[in-house]
Symmetry: C2
Subunit: 192 residues, 2 copies
């Protein structure tokens, strides 16, 4: 089975990890090897000394991207639910995959900040509002929205099952033609 | 194909990378997916800000170990030619693999420091002797020899081809019985 990296970018509480966890089972049922590289978990293993400055966030994304690329080029379907707030760091990860001809899908989990704040599964928005936290992506730290992602999912009013079905269809479609997204995105990634 | 991590530990110029590069082809010919996680290359991607203190070296080894484990548990044969001078960091990597039932082989490339100094492929020994470099493993920085590695190869007077044959045999043997080295080493790894 050909590997692919599926990067789920979006705000905190957008639903990135929920979709990744829910998609893992069906993807395995479809015969794929699946790894979830969750931002927080990878941070503990690869980036324990990094913080949340622009530079640190970019390094963190780069390390996950490199690890994902190694796995994907060995046939693994990698789900990376990672905020990745900066466009250039995301473009770098895409370029890293392209350089070796490894498939890559950027999925924008495009839930609005209002909905994310209502969910607030990690209580980050509440802590920021109370003044206990600074640098929250989408509130007082930048989130640069993907301009032309391979897929956009707004999870508001959409069931997890429906979101997973959409994701599965995109993953399957990425295999119908040789690297369609990579040909289409060559210019963007290289200019990033 | 079941994956396995083959960690080649030893002094600088011991022949770790030479063996890994020479083994990759025959392993692929045997139907395996192979990744070489070379210490210097991985450092550039995962640990650009780490130096060579005991703590930094341990972190570096841990990151490579985690990446190797992810690959190996997805069926990849990972060759890691990485000095890894400290016993406890190596034991941690072994334990990380054991925790998920992933195969792991520790290979001590046990070339003597005298032979390594004669080879000095990166001119590290010469630079250390001139006083241009400090903290060279095996000279003025510790190298804790493996007490009971799965395989020991002294490359002095042994052809690369012969070393690769020995390595291939060990990799094949690791698959004859379910995790023999992991059962045998349980105590050691957990006490490390």
């Amino acid at each position: 089975m050909t590997g692919v990296t599926v990067w789920l970018t979006g705000l905190p509480s957008a639903g990135k990890s929920t979709i990744a966890r829910a998609a893992a089972g069906p993807l395995r049922d479809a015969g794929r090897r699946v790894e979830i590289l969750d931002g927080d978990e990878v941070r503990a293993n690869l980036s324990p000394r990094l913080g949340f400055s622009r530079e640190d966030r970019a390094d963190h994304v780069r390390r996950i991207g490199w690890t994902a690329m190694l796995l994907a080029r060995n046939g693994v379907t990698v789900l990376a639910p990672v905020i990745a707030p900066y466009r250039d760091a995301r473009a770098e990860v895409r370029a890293m995959h392209q350089a070796g001809g490894t498939r890559y899908l950027e999925v924008h989990v495009a839930t609005t900040v209002e909905v994310c704040r209502d969910r607030d599964v990690k209580e980050l928005y509440a802590r920021q509002a109370r003044g206990d936290l600074r640098g929250l992506t989408g509130v007082d730290d930048p989130y640069e929205e993907p301009v032309d992602p391979d897929l956009r999912i707004d999870t508001h009013g959409v069931s997890v099952e429906a979101a997973v079905r959409t994701l599965m269809a995109a993953v399957s479609a990425s295999h119908l033609v040789a690297h369609p997204q990579q040909i289409r995105r060559g210019g963007e990634a290289l200019s990033g």
